[in-house]
Symmetry: C2
Subunit: 332 residues, 2 copies
């Protein structure tokens, strides 16, 4: 039974919004984001509050796109990377909406979309929101060292995206979420915290392989198979792992972390990462393409590294998880 | 629509298990717990790994009570208090089961039971598990200071329970979960991190008041209204807040944090707290009473303080959330 695909008969993304920082605005997808602040501060005096403010703004923009107020939203599924997920709890505090806090590391955007879809499709909620974020400066000082220290980065390191994405999930809409396959936590001995892509790739390979096995589908059934933030290093490992199992996704594959920056020009090493990475790329680039019918069938896998700085310091390897959702365009 | 009670037609706790440390074993409920270790270490050499081990053991015991192996469990809903929820991700890594990571601070036991019930009742999963934990020593050094420092505790401070609870949720069973009301995050200006009860009581009052309003029920419809870890201070504030609204729960009310220790003899100040507090009291004391029919109707509210040490240091007040589930005995 662990290999059951969740079927959602009535779930669709009816609005999405993104808020980003300066590097994301400066990147190849810069024109698509709804709002940006070149100071990355969003009017706040700590990076943590700036990240919370991005969530608040993204959720507000998504509501505005739907032309609804908070009374129309029945539940929030939210999470982020900060200790105790405070970006979400403070960022969404303004809203009188039932709140489900999630922690799936960088997979949280996909996890929140899956649980929003499951609860909406089952009729528990009419409209649920999925909101996630990350911020380069808050993440650096929590996971590594404050940016002011100017620490050297390894070539496999990824750059935490400064961004928040919000999705509204309701029963009917042009961007249908038809299926979900929750990830199983796997750990393959990678303990290099500067190489998250390598730690997460086996989890993505596990989920995708299970999906193809159970569904009977193959990579060619999709226009796009997109991971959240494996980056350039992790993405190539994923393709290799699957090739060794006889599955070739190279024609359809891309990664939000590889798409969001021009890594050479912007000096972003192995690409973007973070909860906000997949959230903003999905919200402002991929969802609109599904809405316009330019993409028909998309597999989106959020990928998360489930370690902490303490667990790394204590010599533990990095567990990872990858949650998959299937999106279909209803555009005729 | 924010005030909608979720109805679960097919959800029941079919097994539950608890693992605790020495103070919990020594407390008034000591005889009820399934397993304890007087060293609080569970054979591990860090407190964090000891907490993970408690989750693994609790989940294993719950499976043994059901006489099933991991193949019979379709999903894990899990969380804890440690940064990045590593107790859960490492503790449950052994199991090849789809994993949903949650963060609701000390409300996570109720949140996990609610989402497990929602997904099982909707038919997505046949059996889902809800697993949560906390550990005094890992929590102290992360949230306050390492226990070796011997810091003075204020009279309103609570003692983080060393314990893990696991619940198996399936469609049919003697302990039915019939309803859920997810909490709304509220913040009433409390910024004293040594008085979590006061920070969380308004959230509990908000959820409970909404529940009575929407359901049309009253406190006398229940044998027990139990909160997760408001403790003695927070519990009395909750009763006062509700009394001022004309709702008197004093006859039915108790709190897992007030029940788990003999606070005078054990010098535990305002009582127990933590994800593990409500998890082990529910798993090993209240659920068995429901199973035997000694309790018929119970409201359980998990209460969580959604701040972080950083947000407190930055001068923010403490947001809190309270998730409610309704449990009914099917014993004839």
């Amino acid at each position: 039974m662990q290999n059951k695909i969740l079927k959602f008969d009535n779930a669709a993304i009816v609005a999405s919004a993104s808020v980003v920082g300066k590097w994301e605005k400066d990147g190849p997808l810069g024109e698509y984001f709804d709002l940006h602040d070149n100071t990355d501060k969003f009017g706040k005096n700590t990076w943590e509050l700036a990240e919370s403010e991005m969530q608040r703004l993204a959720f507000n923009i998504a509501m505005a796109k739907l032309s609804v107020s908070e009374q129309a939203i029945d539940a929030l599924f939210a999470g982020d990377l900060l200790n105790q997920c405070v970006s979400s709890s403070y960022g969404l505090l303004d809203f009188d909406i039932p709140y489900f806090g999630l922690y799936g590391a960088c997979s949280t955007a996909a996890e929140s979309l899956m649980l929003a879809s499951a609860t909406v499709s089952a009729g528990y909620f009419k409209t649920a929101a999925a909101v996630t974020s990350s911020h380069y400066c808050s993440a650096e000082r929590q996971y590594r060292s404050p940016v002011e220290y100017g620490a050297q980065r390894s070539p496999t390191a990824q750059w935490t995206v400064t961004g928040a994405g919000a999705f509204m999930v309701s029963g009917e809409g042009k961007i249908r979420i038809t299926e979900g396959l929750p990830g199983i936590v796997v750990e393959k001995g990678i303990s290099d915290a500067s190489n998250m892509g390598a730690a997460m790739a086996p989890a993505a390979a596990d989920t995708l392989k299970r999906y193809f096995q159970i569904s009977g589908s193959s990579p060619s059934d999709f226009d796009l198979i997109v991971t959240g933030d494996l980056g350039i290093e992790g993405g190539s490992i994923l393709c290799e792992l699957l090739l060794s199992e006889g599955i070739d996704i190279r024609q359809q594959y891309n990664d939000c972390g590889a798409m969001i920056y021009d890594v050479k020009r912007q000096d972003k090493h192995a690409g973007g990462s973070g909860c906000g990475c997949s959230a903003v790329v999905m919200a402002s680039y991929i969802c609109p393409m599904l809405e316009r019918g330019e993409l028909k069938n998309v597999l989106f896998m959020g990928t998360g590294a489930m370690m902490s700085p303490s667990s790394i310091q204590q010599g533990q390897a990095i567990p990872a998880v990858a949650h998959l959702i299937r999106l279909s365009s209803q555009k005729n």
